[in-house]
Amino acid sequence: MPERDELDLLLDAGLATYADPGLDSGLEERVLSALAAARMTTQERSRSAWWPKRLAWAVAVPLAASLLLWISIAKISHAPSSHIQQAYKPETAKTPNAIAPRIEAGGPAHPSEAKARVHPATSMRLIGSTQDKMKSCPLRTSEAAKCAPLPKLDVFPKPTPPSMEEQALVIVANTGPASPREALIESQQHADAPLSIVALNIPPLAVPGEGKN
């Protein structure tokens, strides 16, 4: 047993000093300096990483802004403008009614209407074909560009002679008396003028037999 106790003590002493760096080994100082170096490296890294980040933002933000601007401009340019629609719609709506009186009046207000004045039948046909186009094609310019053209005829149609009524209308328009036309034009010009009513002068009624009493 004494041998065993001695071995135990020897083992305990050996175990106590096993892998012990010792007090003056400087291990703690080396660890602390390594930590300080690592800390410095981390700070430098974060400091150096600051500029590329800022540069990336400086590039990315204007790029994104210009991209958004470009997209919005592209949308606006493709979208139908309201004033075009407004100018386009009434034209189609008014065309048959608005041009007809001018034809009758003989005063073209627009170059396109001059054609109509030359040949009323042709003009009516043109108006009709324009209306057909309006119906078949949407108002949007971008979509109108994509709109399928009207089917082509195999043979170009011959101009049909005006009917009896059309011929009579042309004759009346060209050779008719000027006074009714002028009266019509004048009445249309003064249609919007304020009405003037002449004052009525009504004499008082004379009752027979009055004053005799």
Partner: protein
């Protein structure tokens, strides 16, 4: 980290560096790798601040050091253990002959411990280094408490037997 926390962490490094080194050395059997492991352990602790929540400081550090050392050994090439004379402690104040005998005896025991299998060596070092009990060692190594006791007993038995054999051989050599 605030100034107080920095000071606290520095105190922790000064207090536990040797213990972490011993645990790492028990796994790696190399003083340089063990020191690198110590630095890595404290760097990890500094970054994640988990050391503040540890209930048992020694057990927590032993666990971290063991994991880091095992990972380092896996990633590193297998090398022969290097006998590092600087690991031996400075003796108290014995005479030159006694110092030589004592140093040689310690070196012999250290060599015997190094020669133990790792599953026996590590519980032995942990039990000797910071007076950790079997339950704490079991928690560190994730093994049952009974297994820790068995391994400690076996490790001491092997060391005693080998030491006795060496002493007997020395006696025979002296007589011859």
């Amino acid at each position: 980290m605030t100034t107080d926390e920095e000071a606290e962490f520095t105190a922790l490094v000064r207090r536990q560096s040797s213990f972490v080194f011993r645990v790492a050395y028990a796994v790696l059997l190399n003083a340089h790798d063990a020191e690198d492991t110590v630095q890595e352990v404290f760097l990890k602790l500094y970054r994640n601040s988990g050391w503040r929540d540890a209930k048992n400081e020694a057990a927590f550090l032993a666990r971290v050091a063991w994991r880091v050392a095992v990972d380092r050994r896996r990633s590193a090439k297998p090398t022969e253990p290097i006998a590092d004379s600087t690991l031996d402690p400075p003796s108290a104040q014995p005479g030159p002959e006694e110092m030589l005998v004592e140093a040689s005896q310690h070196a012999l025991i250290h060599a015997l411990i190094d020669a133990l299998p790792e599953d026996l060596r590590l519980p032995l070092v942990l039990s000797a280094a910071d007076d950790l009990n079997s339950r704490e060692i079991g928690a560190i190594l994730r093994i049952p408490e009974g297994t820790v006791r068995t391994r400690l007993h076996r490790a001491r038995q092997i060391l005693r037997q080998r030491l006795a054999n060496l002493n007997a051989r020395n006696q025979e050599n002296l007589h011859a």
